[in-house]
C-alpha cells in the first residue's frame, strides 16, 4: 500500500475517513463514558438508600442491646454479619483491622443533637460532615445518605468514600478507552487498505490515460469497471476518437497539400527540362529556360521544406504504439536514399551495426524528416574532403558531424530560427534545423548543435537526443 502525493484522491480519502472515524469514535466513547458515570452514580446512590433502609432497624436493635457500655457503640465488622448474628462473637476471625474490611459502606447512627450513638468499625468517631436532613449530601471525602429512623429522633447516615466511587468510574473509563488505542491504528490500516483496493480501477484508468498521447489514441478498455469509471472512460474514449479524427484530417490535409503542390511543380520542371533539351545550342531562349529550371528546383526544395515544417508543427510525431520502436532500418533507408539521389558533398560514413541499436519513441516519418534534414545540412555545409559521420550513442542519440569551417557561437544560436541560413553557403532553405527543432519539441527529444564538433578544431555536429519510453 503506497500513498503517493498529498493531493492524490487516495491520500485525501484515507486522511478524511480515518479522521472522521477516529473523531466520531472518541466522541461516542466520551458520550458513553458520561452516561456510564451518571448511571453508576445513580446505582451507587440507590445502594446507599437501600442499605440505609434495610439496616436501620437492625442497627437500632443492636444499639439498644449494647448501649449499657456507654460512649459510642462500635458495630463489629463486618457490619452485616454482626447485625445478622445479633450478638458479639468473641471467636470471630475479624480482628477489627480496617484493612481487612472490604465493605466500603460506613454507618453512623446519630441523635437529634448530632452526636454519634453508633458507628461501623470503618466509620470515623466524629460525625460525618453532613446535615441531619433526609437525603444526599457530599462531604469532603464521602457521599452521605441520611434517613430519619426510630421514632423520628434518630438519624441513620450511610456513607461511601468518594475515592472508592471515583476509582470505580475511572476503571470503567479506562476499560472503555483502552481498546481504542489499538483499534484506531487498526482502523487507519483498514481504511488505507480499503481505499487502495477501491481506487484500483481509478489508478488503472489514470495509467491508461497517462500512456495516451497524439501517438497513441487507442480506446481504453472498459472491462470490470465501476459505473462511475465507466462513464469517465466512455467520455475519454469519445474525446480521443474526436481528437484522432481531427488529427487525421489535419494529416490528410497536409499530405494532400503535398500531393497537390508537388504534381504541378513536377510538370513544370519536366516540361522545362524538355524545353531545354529541345532548344538548339546557342538559342536565345536557353538562358531563360535554364533560369526557369533553377527557379523550379528551388521552388521544389522550398515547398518540400515548408510542407515538412507544417507536418512537424501539426502532428505529435510520437511512435504509433506510444513506445520505443527500432529506427535503424529507417535511418539506413534515408542514408541510402540520399546516396542514390547523388547529392553533392562528401561521402556519408555510418556503421550498420551501430545504427541497428537505435530505438526511440518517435514516428518513422518524423524521424526520417529529421535525419534527412540533418544529413543534407551536413553535406551542404561540410567540407568536401571529410566524410559526414553518422553515429548512434547510447541507443537513442544520433550524432551527425561534418568538417568545414566552424560556425560562430552567435550564429550557432540562431541556426534553428526559421529562414536563418549559415553564412558559409546561402543556397539552403533556412528551414532544415527549424524543422528538426519543431519535431524534437513535439516528441520530447532535444536538438543540440556544436561547432567546432567535439574533439576537433573545426566542423559542426548536430546531436538529436531522442525520447525513450
Amino acid at each position: 500500500m503506497k500513498i503517493r502525493a498529498q493531493n492524490s484522491l487516495q491520500f485525501i480519502l484515507t486522511k478524511r475517513l480515518t479522521l472522521i472515524v477516529a473523531v466520531f469514535w472518541v466522541i461516542g466513547a466520551l458520550f458513553a463514558a458520561y452516561t456510564a458515570r451518571h448511571e453508576m452514580e445513580e446505582g451507587a446512590d440507590t445502594a446507599l438508600v437501600e442499605t440505609s433502609r434495610r439496616t436501620s432497624t437492625l442497627i437500632i436493635d443492636y444499639l439498644e442491646n449494647h448501649q449499657d457500655a456507654g460512649g459510642i457503640v462500635v458495630l463489629p465488622e463486618p457490619g452485616f454479619d454482626a447485625v445478622h448474628d445479633g450478638d458479639d462473637d468473641e471467636d470471630s476471625d475479624h480482628d477489627g483491622d480496617v484493612d481487612d474490611f472490604d465493605d466500603f459502606m460506613q454507618y453512623q447512627l446519630r441523635d437529634a443533637k448530632g452526636d454519634v450513638l453508633l458507628r461501623s468499625q470503618n466509620a470515623p468517631e466524629t460525625p460525618f460532615d453532613a446535615p441531619l436532613e433526609p437525603g444526599f449530601s457530599d462531604g469532603d471525602e464521602v457521599r452521605v445518605y441520611t434517613s430519619v429512623t426510630g421514632n423520628g429522633d434518630l438519624f441513620m447516615q450511610v456513607a461511601e468514600p468518594t475515592e472508592h466511587r471515583n476509582e470505580a468510574i475511572i476503571e470503567t473509563m479506562v476499560s472503555q478507552f483502552t481498546p481504542l488505542i489499538f483499534l484506531i491504528p487498526v482502523t487507519i490500516l483498514a481504511v488505507v487498505y480499503s481505499v487502495t483496493r477501491a481506487l484500483g480501477p481509478v489508478r488503472r484508468v489514470r495509467n491508461e490515460i497517462e500512456a495516451r498521447g497524439e501517438g497513441n489514441l487507442t480506446p481504453i478498455a472498459q472491462d470490470d469497471q465501476t459505473e462511475e469509471i465507466n462513464t469517465i472512460v466512455t467520455a475519454v474514449n469519445r474525446l480521443m476518437a474526436k481528437l484522432e479524427a481531427a488529427l487525421s484530417v489535419e494529416r490528410s490535409f497536409t499530405a494532400n497539400s503535398a500531393h497537390e503542390l508537388r504534381t504541378p511543380i513536377a510538370v513544370a520542371l519536366a516540361q522545362t527540362q524538355r524545353l531545354l533539351a529541345e532548344l538548339p545550342e546557342g538559342h536565345a531562349a536557353r538562358k531563360r529556360a535554364v533560369q526557369t529550371e533553377e527557379a523550379l528546383k528551388r521552388l521544389s526544395r522550398l515547398s518540400e521544406k515548408l510542407l515538412q515544417l507544417a507536418r512537424a508543427e501539426s502532428s505529435g510525431g510520437f511512435s504509433p504504439t506510444g513506445h520505443n520502436q527500432e529506427l535503424g532500418p529507417t535511418l539506413n533507408l534515408v542514408i541510402e536514399d540520399i546516396r542514390r539521389a547523388g547529392m553533392d558533398g562528401a561521402e556519408i560514413r555510418s556503421g550498420a551495426e551501430n545504427l541497428a541499436t537505435l530505438s526511440a519513441n518517435i514516428d518513422h516519418d518524423a524521424f526520417a524528416i529529421c535525419m534527412r534534414n540533418l544529413i543534407e545540412n551536413a553535406l551542404k555545409y561540410g567540407g568536401d574532403d571529410e566524410p559526414v559521420d553518422i553515429r548512434v550513442v547510447e541507443g537513442h542519440i544520433v550524432q551527425v558531424a561534418n568538417g568545414g569551417a566552424p560556425v560562430s557561437p552567435d550564429e550557432l544560436a540562431q541556426l534553428t530560427t526559421r529562414f536563418k541560413r549559415s553564412s558559409n553557403k546561402a543556397d539552403g532553405s533556412g528551414l532544415g534545423l527549424a524543422i528538426v527543432e519543431a519535431i524534437a519539441r513535439n516528441t520530447k527529444a532535444e536538438l543540440k548543435l556544436y561547432s567546432p564538433r567535439p574533439d576537433h578544431a573545426d566542423g559542426f555536429m548536430a546531436e538529436l537526443r531522442l525520447h525513450q519510453s
Binding site: V267, Q271, R274, E304, T330, G342, D365, A368
Partner: protein
C-alpha cells in the same frame, strides 16, 4: 528498353515519355490502372514506371497484383507521397526504387539504368566486349580501341539490350520490342538494318548472328 509509364497527369507523362524516347527507350503510356493491367498482360516490359494515386485505383495494388502473379518486371514508383512510410510501403509491395515528384529527368534516367542493370544480372555499368569495345552503360558511351563511337538513340537502344545480357541470344522479337514504342509500325528488316549499322561502327565480331534464333554479344 521497353517501358510502361503509368501516370494520370498527362503533361508530366508527356514530358517523361519525350525524355525517354529521346534517350532511345520505347515507352508506352497508361493513365489508369485498368489500361495498365491490359498492357501488362499483352507485353513484356523491361521496366514499369508507376504513379501511386490513379483515378481508378492505387498503383500499389496494381504492383502487388503483378507480384502475386509472379511478374518480376522491375518497377520504379513515381509519386508525390514523400513520407518514409510511403516509401517503405512501396518497397514492401515489390518496387525496386522510389522517386519523389518533382524529379529531375536525368535522375529518372539514372535510376532506370541502375534498376535495369540490377535485373540484367550485371550491376557493373562497365562492360568489355570482343574487338576492344568498351561500354559504359551508365554514361551511355562506347569506346573502340580507345576512340569514342557515336551511336544514335535507336542504335543505342538495340545495343544496350544486348550488352546488358552478354552471351545471351536475344530474339528478333525481343529486340524489336526494345526498339519501338507501343503501337509504332515495325518494318520486317528494321532490326537487321540497325545491327548492320552497329557492325559498321563497332566491327563485325562484336555482334554474332545465331541463325534462326537472334543475335548476341560476347563479353
Amino acid at each position: 528498353m521497353r517501358i510502361l509509364l503509368v501516370e494520370d497527369e498527362l503533361m508530366l507523362a508527356d514530358a517523361v515519355r519525350d525524355h525517354l524516347l529521346a534517350s532511345g527507350e520505347a515507352v508506352d503510356h497508361s493513365a489508369s490502372v485498368v489500361d495498365a493491367e491490359i498492357m501488362l498482360r499483352g507485353t513484356n516490359y523491361d521496366v514499369l514506371l508507376l504513379d501511386l494515386n490513379l483515378p481508378d485505383g492505387k498503383g500499389l495494388d496494381l504492383l502487388r497484383d503483378l507480384r502475386r502473379q509472379g511478374s518480376a518486371t522491375p518497377c520504379i514508383i513515381l509519386t508525390a507521397q514523400d513520407q518514409i512510410s510511403d516509401r517503405i510501403a512501396g518497397l514492401n509491395a515489390g518496387a525496386d526504387d522510389y522517386l519523389v515528384k518533382p524529379f529531375d529527368l536525368n535522375e529518372l534516367s539514372a535510376r532506370l539504368a541502375a534498376v535495369s542493370r540490377r535485373y540484367s544480372g550485371n550491376p557493373n555499368p562497365f562492360v568489355e566486349l570482343q574487338g576492344g569495345v568498351e561500354v559504359d552503360l551508365a554514361g551511355r558511351s562506347v569506346l573502340r580501341g580507345g576512340e569514342h563511337i557515336d551511336l544514335t538513340s535507336r542504335e543505342w537502344a538495340l545495343f544496350d539490350q544486348m550488352v546488358k545480357r552478354p552471351g545471351q541470344t536475344l530474339s528478333k522479337r525481343q529486340l524489336e520490342e526494345a526498339l519501338y514504342e507501343f503501337g509504332a509500325e515495325i518494318e520486317s528488316n528494321t532490326v537487321e538494318v540497325y545491327v548492320s549499322r552497329l557492325r559498321r561502327k563497332l566491327g563485325r565480331d562484336v555482334i554474332k548472328t545465331v541463325r534462326g534464333v537472334g543475335y548476341r554479344v560476347e563479353g
